[in-house]
Symmetry: C2
Subunit: 378 residues, 2 copies
Amino acid sequence: MNEKSVGIVETKYFTFAEPPNEMLLESGEKLGPVTLAYETYGKINSSADNAVLITHALSGDAHVAGCHSKNDRKTGWWDFMVGPGRPFDTDKYFVICSNVIGGCKGSTGPTSVNPQTGKPYNLNFPVVTIGDMVKAQKELMGHLSVKKLLTVVGGSMGGMQVLEWAIKYPDMVATAMPIATTSRLNAQGIAFDEVGRQAIYADSNWKGGDYSDYKLIPAQGLSVARMLAHITYLSEESMHEKFGRRLREKERYGYDFTTDFEVESYLRYQGESFIKRFDANTYLYITKAMDYFDLTRDFGTLENAFKGVSAKFMVLSFSSDWLFPTAHSKEIVRALTVNRKKVTFCEIPSPYGHDAFLLRNEYMEKMVTDFLTYAYDK
Amino acid sequence: MNEKSVGIVETKYFTFAEPPNEMLLESGEKLGPVTLAYETYGKINSSADNAVLITHALSGDAHVAGCHSKNDRKTGWWDFMVGPGRPFDTDKYFVICSNVIGGCKGSTGPTSVNPQTGKPYNLNFPVVTIGDMVKAQKELMGHLSVKKLLTVVGGSMGGMQVLEWAIKYPDMVATAMPIATTSRLNAQGIAFDEVGRQAIYADSNWKGGDYSDYKLIPAQGLSVARMLAHITYLSEESMHEKFGRRLREKERYGYDFTTDFEVESYLRYQGESFIKRFDANTYLYITKAMDYFDLTRDFGTLENAFKGVSAKFMVLSFSSDWLFPTAHSKEIVRALTVNRKKVTFCEIPSPYGHDAFLLRNEYMEKMVTDFLTYAYDK
């Protein structure tokens, strides 16, 4: 393990909203009890002003950094960002990440057992929103005695949570770093999500969401959804660089429907590995939460949405991201600026598309480090 | 019916390659007999120099213009381009279009009966290429006594056929108009095609391609493939203009998995209407033919590919087409220019993405009219 790693870490669980004090969701439905899976690294300091909340994207989880055991060869999903001497320096900061509600990585979601029936919720799980995810995280902050967050930071759907935090709980958020995100998906984004959902519905193993009753998995539908989404996470340029039209272990076209091109093989692999680590109903719920997120709808205008925020912002986008393009980040920057809020913005040059925020990038690492250091040492 | 319409038209059929004289395909397989469904409008002139061949895209057919009966309310797929006084003026030109081999609109394809078994070919149909499609069209030209084409014109996969015609049969092609096309799909294009195919394979009704044996249709898989493809045919801008985040017949989110957004409803409609007019196995074959098309692979370089062409070219692209972007058209123009071939090029401003070539556009209509008039009257 790298000397800058946080080392061996453990996922913990926090349960709240026990009946009859269920959590009220934005839909009007109630949910309880609610468990959040979370991890923390570093220690809270005596003045309790060094807490960093990292929020995750669609398929992410609480396991941001380090390993779960000595033999665990896979580090957390943002390991290079978190650890001693890393941008989220665990010698300085108390870093927290929780799996979202509606998720399938330890938090209460559609795969959880509904206490009223003794069976998994499946599609009886209420539709949750980004607001609900953040509301649950706030409960976790209470549990951890965190009254103020030095920063909330996340990419993609994580960035939506960052915006929600800064707007809903302005007193609790000193700085905010929405990365590769948007204040609302455009029609194309909703369309891609919907096709992914339709691919899951189309799988005969899905059984109206009750596949677990039949000990089945709608693997092919989920795999198609993931393959499609994966194309949108990459840039055309990076796919071209990585695969071009190279054939897979053959000199000549197969003239059949097995794999001809490397890019086909890669996508199939992405689909197949995803079904081992993610749940199909959860995919429906999380994409729906993203589709519903719309600050303009909630506040009339994006300017209004940011009226009450007190956080200083750093907004980052990536040049080749066509799913959450720079124009969307600029809208956020503009709305903040209209409200005379403090905001730093950078479009980071990268050929890697939307997924760039998950990859090492010296600009991102330096900007995060400096912004946070300035906020903390001010 | 509009006075410029070609009126009531009829699909005709031409059969060739009767065993033992089967057609030799690029794969090395043989196919026969081969039937092509085709339509013609206008008349060949005495000097036989007024024939125009229109080649169609993925889901197109031979029915380019006019109606099939008095009560037929649906005109052919490029009706506004073909008719008296229209760009392909049927008072001047003899216009021909045939459904490609491998298709499901009357030409021999996977839904046709295999004479050796008395059952539909299904996946026993040989994989055909753009080159095979064009080779079959050449047989049709012989049948129609057309020795030289005033122009070959088509968009998308039709444009691939245009390039193939100009390269393979240079003596037969006076001018060529590849529209919104490419000399080879990039990795992203292959990836989208592959996800569409995977969606079809994933449908339990597909039965390894033998769904017709079971009187089934892999409707959901084909529908997902079409929905996905449809997103790539539109521009982000046009989707935004057309749908934005408008809700479908509701004021408030449904907080369920029925339709929330207009764009979802539109896509589902696109998927559902497609399954009524197209065949799933055919979708596999036609996308494969597009993936395989690669002039660089065939000739070493794109410059080499165009060395022997004698046609004058007009290359058209559309500004908001991200599936077959202008850069791909420019590569073709550059390779032609290097060979000192005559080529006109225009990136037509349009917000409608790849599908723009199927929509009325005054620039396209004017450029096609003028280019063709000049070529004919020269």
